[in-house]
Every structure is written in C-alpha cells, then in structure tokens.
C-alpha cells in the first residue's frame, strides 16, 4: 500500500498550508502548493497530480468552483478531491461531497486522521487503477473477438449468401442483433425452372445460433442444384440438424417451392408465424399456419412433412417473416401479432407495400433501435418466369468434347414409385455427358414432365382436367398422394440413350408407363391458344425437344434432344 503520491494543495491561509504540506511530506509524498482556487486550477496537471486538497473558502476562486474546473480538466481520469474546511456546518460539508468531492478534512488538522484518510485514498486509487487495467484488457480482448468474428462472418456470408436473393421477384429485410445472427434467408434456382426458398430462425442469437446455418445452407444449395425435391430436402436438413445440434437448439423455418410449370407453390411451415398469400380472389391474405415441428427436433423415423399446395397467377405475392416481427413489442408492450400487424392480416395493406410498411411500423414502435430478436422478412412476387429468364449457369462450353455413346434403362415398380424420386439420379448420370451439363435445366425439365405425366396420368390414372380450378388443383394433389400411397401394381420405365455423330449429339429419353395410354393424336401443342392450366405440359415439351414421338397407344413417349458441339453459341 506504500505509494508516493503527487498532491496538489490549495489554501489561502499560509500557516494551514505549510502545516498540511509538512504532514504530507513527512509520509514521503510530493506536495505542490497553491495560494487560492485560481492558482490551483492553473497548477493542476491531470497527468502528474494524483490527489487534490482544496480549502473551501478562498479568494479569486473558492474550493467548489476550483473542484468543478479540475474535474473538467481531468476528463476520464479519476483524481480524488479532498476538501479542507474550518466550518463544521453539515450542509456545507455535504455540498463538498455532492459536487464530487471524495472526502473532507476538518481543521484544525489531526495527523492521525490525515494518515487514515490518505491510506483510504491510496486504496481507492489502487482499485481504480486495477479497474482501468481490466477495462483496457477487456476492450483489447473485445477488439480481437470482433475482428475474428468479422473474418468468420465473411466465410459465413459466402456460404449462406451464395444464392439468388438478388432475383427481382424477391425483396428481403434483415436486422440482426449481433455480428452473426440466427436468421437465414436462402434462395436457389431449381434446374428445371422455379425456385426453392427457405427462411430459417435458429434458437438464440449470435454465433451459437449462426453455426447451424452452415450445414443447412450446404444441403439446401447442393440438393436443390442436383434436382432433389422439397419433400426430400426437408427431411435431410432435419436429420442433419438433429444429429449435430444440442437438444435445446432447433430451427424454425418455412420452405417454399415455386413451381413455374404448373404455376403453383408448395409451402412447408415448421414453427414460423403464418405465411401470408395475397391474391385477387380474396380481400384478406390466406394464412398458412405452422403445421410442423421446427427442424432439428424430431428423429428422422418420426419426422413428417405437412405441405400445403396453392396455385398462383402472376402478380400474386407471398410474405414470410420470422418471430422477431411477430413477437416484437409495441410501445404499449403488446405483441405485434395482436396489435400492430392487424391491418396486414385484415388485408388493409397493399401487398406490394407490405415489407416497407412493416419496416415503418418496426421503426415507429422503436423495435429497430433496440431489437430483442433477429428480424427477417421476405416478400415474393410470384410469376411463371422465375428461374427461367434470369437463369445463368455460367458453365463454359468446351469446344473439344469427346463424343459419347451409351444407354441405360431404369424401371421403377410400385414400391419404388411410392418411395423414391428417380430424377436426380438419372439427371446426374446424364450430365456426366461432356457438354450436356450446360443444358441440364432443359433436360431436367423434359425429364420431369415426362416422368410426372407417366406417373400421374399413366400409372395413377389421374385426369388432368381436374386441375382447371384452384380447388380442383389441391384435390388433384390430395388424390395423387392417396393413390400413390395405395399403389400396388404398375411401373414406369425410363430409358436413356446418348449418341454422337460428328458435331451432332442426340439424347433420346424414352418413358413408358403401365397405364392405359391416351389419345395423343388430338393434343393441342399450341401454348398461346390454350388458356388452360393443365394442357401446357406436352406443349412445353414440344417446344423444348427436337421431336416428340408417341407409341403403344400413348403409353410410351420418346423425346429427342439435340445439341451441337464445336460451334460458338
């Protein structure tokens, strides 16, 4: 505790001043004397003086005034001030403490009391110094942490943002409470047109919440690119999160599959607030509530996928947001879902304004200044050209492609039709053909049209005219599910043949089913004349392929796809 202090003392009474200086010097301290308040202020140097003693009553500037000026000059540094006083008036003394004095010493001086008080001040200074050192160490540590997090954030964003969120059909809003946040919005074009979207909200905030987003994004992008379907990707994500996350962590999410071929979307909601679907048919938005547990809770064997299908017309809109919006509190303390959001639910907000409007409400109610949870919103303007026109795979075409000749056949019986989706596997084999990978989206579209026709109309015997109304549309898919679940007999045969001659390459896709065929002579291939929802599949195929050939009374169909090599596009 022995510490030499530089002490500034100010007293206009020479004998008192000399006495105090003598007492302090006796303990080894360095003493600088001032004759009044003004003199003290001038002699005060915050970098060298560690303690100031001021007489209360002095000419030119009294002790209180001097104390205030010295405190200002000291700034962030802690310099204790002790008042010296002949008056024993409790009010005057308490004033000394009120304006920031540390203590006071009454005259006449008692050396014993001054020693005790000085010891107390030294303790205070030592404590203060320790605190300052800890504070500096802490801020250095924090700086390092923030630096590390920023580096990690770049990696994180490269993984989670390697997507097509810039598509003009999408608008998003994202406010995080930390450098990292537990909300993710992912979007990826599907190989056959359309898009997969996922808005996820992990338990908690910050780094611990963000870490689960990495495997999630990985599976989402990889599996979408390979042509897997939503109902295959969701269980895979669930299984992966279940196996890596601790029991108290999970991811509330909505998965949206935009299908442009039949102008519909599939919605899976696990733990997010209702998704809102805006169409012209109804004044209030249709709400799609959470029908599933969030991802990462259930083990794979009991996981179910409850999906809602809905048809759209171009211009309809879907709005999704995380519970950071739903559970935000307005200024009166009520949750948004019961107060501020009501006009949105009641259809009083124009759908294309919904996001701007929500941000405005969040700002007005002070939520954005002090967010308790990560906030994410996503608005999708639905259209039938999503993922088609803006699509750019960027795969360079090689001019020296090796010719390829091969064929294979793939037969799926009832069991396999029920439980598997063969398309990603078939596509993966086909895209190993040099040069064909650049056309994978068109090939996938042809393949998926042929397969769904064979399965739905051929094997399951569904009539496509059912789809002509939007009610009929969901009925159609319900019935598809039921018939597929009950399927005992039937098959779909896919055979693929790739041939090369000079620069010309031909892919022949033959798909045959066990159904009863159909009247293919009277199919209308003119897309522009057909306003119908359901006749578009074959017309689309006809446009994409070089040639379409039917056989076996409509049970079999071959699509020929030609492409050239050795030429510029």
């Amino acid at each position: 505790m022995e510490q030499i202090l530089n002490i500034l003392i100010a007293d206009d009474n020479p004998s008192d001043r000399i006495l105090l200086k003598a007492i302090l010097s006796q303990f080894g301290h360095n003493v600088i004397s001032a004759v009044d308040g003004q003199d003290a202020v001038e002699k005060f140097d915050p970098d060298t003086i560690q303690l100031v003693c001021l007489d209360v009553k002095m000419p030119r500037k009294d002790g209180w005034e001097a104390a205030l000026e010295i405190q200002r000059a000291a700034g962030d540094l802690f310099v204790p001030i002790i008042f010296l006083s002949g008056v024993a008036d409790p009010i005057a003394l308490s004033n000394c403490l009120r304006i920031g004095g540390t203590d006071f010493i009454s005259k006449p001086y008692s050396p014993a009391l001054i020693t005790a008080k000085l010891n107390a001040i030294v303790r205070l200074l030592v404590m203060q110094k320790t605190l300052e050192e800890q504070r500096d160490a802490m801020s250095l540590y924090n700086e390092q942490l923030v630096h590390d997090q920023n580096v990690a954030k770049v990696v994180y964003e490269n993984i989670t943002h390697s997507n097509c969120l810039k598509d003009p059909a999408l608008s998003t809003v994202h406010y995080g409470t930390h450098t990292f946040n537990g909300d993710v919005i992912l979007a990826a074009y599907k190989p056959n047109g359309g898009m997969h979207l996922l808005l996820g909200d992990f338990t908690g905030h910050g780094l611990s919440a963000a870490i689960g987003a990495l495997p999630l994004a990985d599976i989402f992008f990889d599996w979408t690119k390979k042509g897997f379907l939503m109902r295959q990707i969701i269980p895979e994500i669930n299984a992966r999160l279940k196996s890596i996350l601790p029991a108290n962590m999970f991811c509330s999410a909505a998965f949206i599959d935009i299908k442009v071929n039949n102008k519909s979307i599939d919605i899976w909601n696990g733990g997010l607030p209702d998704l809102l679907f805006f169409s012209q048919q109804s004044k209030v938005p249709v709400r799609f509530e959470s029908k599933n547990l969030p991802l990462g809770i259930l083990p794979p064997d009991v996981f179910e996928c409850q999906i809602d299908p809905v048809t759209f017309v171009p211009g309809n809109r879907l709005v999704v947001f995380s519970d950071g919006v739903y559970e935000a509190q307005d200024k009166s303390g009520a949750m948004f879902c019961h107060s501020v959001l009501n006009p949105l639910y009641e259809g009083e907000i124009a759908d294309d304004q919904a996001l701007d409007w929500m941000v405005e409400q969040l700002t007005q109610e002070g939520v954005l200044e002090n967010p308790h949870d990560d906030i994410s919103c996503l608005s999708i303007r639905l259209d039938s050209n999503i993922g088609i026109e803006s699509h750019d795979h960027g795969v360079p075409t090689s001019h020296h492609e090796a010719p390829a000749d091969f064929s294979f056949e793939y037969v799926l019986n009832a069991d396999s039709l029920r439980n598997t989706d063969p398309l990603p596997y078939v596509l993966q084999i086909i895209t190993t053909v040099p040069g064909l990978s650049s056309f994978s989206s068109q090939v996938f579209m042809i393949l998926s049209e042929l397969y769904s026709n064979a399965l739905e109309h051929g094997v399951l015997g569904l009539k496509s005219d059912k789809k002509s109304s939007s009610d009929g549309f969901s009925q159609y898919y319900d019935e598809r599910e039921q018939r597929l679940a009950a399927l005992k007999d039937g098959f779909v045969k896919i055979s693929v043949k790739v041939t090369s001659s000079d620069n010309e390459r031909v892919l022949a896709l033959y798909v045959e089913d066990s159904g009863s065929g159909f009247d293919y002579q009277n199919v209308n291939f003119d897309m522009s004349s057909s306003e119908l929802l359901y006749n578009r599949g074959l017309a689309l195929l006809d446009q994409l392929c070089h040639k379409l050939e039917f056989c076996k009374g409509g049970r079999g169909v071959t699509a020929y796809y030609h492409w050239q090599v050795g030429q510029d596009d």
């Binding site: 908690g204 108290n248 962590m249 999970f250 509530e289 547990l293 009991v302 949750m335």
Partner: protein, 100 residues
C-alpha cells in the same frame, strides 16, 4: 423466477416459472430437473409466465430429453393466450401434453 417441488408420493416434479421465461432462467431451470433423479412425471406450471421465447422452447426440449424423449411424461399447465400461441406455432402440442 424458477421454483420447483418434488412430490414423493406421486414422484412428480413440478417446476413453476414466474414472469419472462427466457435465457435468464436457463441455469435455474436446468438445475431444477437435473437435481431430481427419481421423477417419473413432470409438470411445468406456466400460469404465471408472461412471455416465452425460443430459448425457453429449447429448455423444454432439454427437459423432454432428460425425461426420456419419446417416453417422457411432461405436462405443460395453464399457459396464457400469448404463450399458448407460441407453443402452437412451434407445434409443441405434438411433443408435450398441454393443459389449458
């Protein structure tokens, strides 16, 4: 505020939470069920919970795991409207018995 009591006769552990059920309750909530090994049934009294966030949902999952996962006997009692709403959005009625 987290309080718990164990009934030797019914071997039921009751945990009551008062006020906001969020991350600040994590330590106390976990201690409340980890410290009792003999419990065969659990009752979580939510009647005085004003708000519940996703980390509270996580804690309930921890408890469920501790209590035997699929076979766990966990009752969530008397959640208020807002709390029930959050539990339903998360579809927790499929994992827990909720008594309104």
């Amino acid at each position: 505020m987290v309080e718990s009591s164990f009934d030797d006769k019914t071997e039921c552990l009751t945990i009551s939470i008062d006020g906001r059920f969020d991350y600040s309750c994590h330590k106390l909530f976990k201690e409340a069920f980890v410290s009792v090994n003999k419990a065969v049934a659990y009752e979580i009294d939510l009647s005085r919970v004003t708000y519940l966030d996703s980390s509270a949902l996580g804690m309930l999952l921890l408890l469920r795991d501790h209590a035997g996962g699929e076979k766990a006997n966990v009752h969530l009692k008397k959640p208020n409207g807002a709390v029930l709403d959050i539990l339903k959005i998360a579809n927790f009625h499929r994992l827990f018995e909720i008594e309104e």
